[in-house]
Chain length 174, copies 2
């Protein structure tokens, strides 16, 4: 018997903090494969989640270089966020972290939302350089770039979701 | 002696409901000509007002086909809005107004903000056709289109502001 991947709204909310995204994904589920889930997520994120939903999803991320709040509405999201920033943390010094914090503030002041980047595998100096480059963008272009980064994060996290369930399934079958 | 156009935040807020826009325009003033004001407004609207400011500006408009609230924070904006919709009102029937209202609701449900169009000189059937066409857009594309319409409205209203002051000046000089 094949294992059927059954994910709920809470699982999808850990991938992306937009409630509309999570609801639409839960309606579209179950998915036969990770690729099918990614395809559905791409359509939902870019075509069905509205501007307010994008802002809601961005707001669910901690400021880069900082730990997620312990009161985060999705503990799984908070835990994954830490993992995604592990390279950044390993390459951080007090002074780069301070500079990152200053630039995060400038960014937030200009754009009105948190600087969002798919941090997986990126060093702190690399993230800082990208922040400074993107700070020059006009607001709409930056909004679109941030939405693209959120989509990369969604893909990574859907893969985690599927691999977690697969591990669970093989343990059960062993 | 040349008349100097002195406009304040309140005047610019009547042109565009974003407080950041109004503040930046007031800082950039005075303007030697309407064209100089339009150039400054274009830069501020597209490059300095953030996503939240765009949403704030959109929210200051009544739903098309409806009268602005009598509690509107800018009475001048509410009055101008009525004038801009005069062609639409003249070409409206009960059934097109009902259809417009239904489509406005669908639009708001999909995009999370009011349908915005520079209504000046447009008939109700023309506005309705445009609403149905734009409803097909993906959220980001529609957000950008709406921002472009807001910019057209800003231009029209800056022209009104300048002509009002010019009238005032010529009356004074007469």
């Amino acid at each position: 018997m094949e294992a059927v991947e059954v994910f709920g709204e809470k699982d999808f909310l850990a991938c992306c903090g937009s409630t509309r995204f999570a609801k639409e994904m839960a309606s579209a589920a179950p998915f036969a494969s990770l690729q099918e889930a990614v395809d559905a997520a791409t359509d939902i994120w870019f075509n069905k989640v509205d501007i307010n939903g994008w802002l809601e999803a961005f707001a669910a991320h901690p400021q880069i270089g900082q730990s997620p709040s312990s009161h985060h509405k999705s503990p799984t999201s908070a835990q994954w966020s830490k993992g995604e920033q592990s390279t950044a943390l390993a390459t951080a010094t007090d002074s780069t972290l301070q500079e990152l914090s200053d630039w995060n503030s400038r960014y937030h002041e200009k754009f009105g939302f948190v600087f969002l980047i798919c941090a997986s595998g990126r060093s702190t100096p690399g993230i800082l350089a990208e922040l400074k480059r993107r700070y020059q963008n006009r607001p709409l272009a930056e909004f679109e770039t941030a939405a693209g980064e959120q989509m990369k994060i969604i893909e990574l996290r859907l893969a985690k979701l599927f691999s977690t369930k697969a591990e669970g399934a093989s343990t059960t079958n062993a």
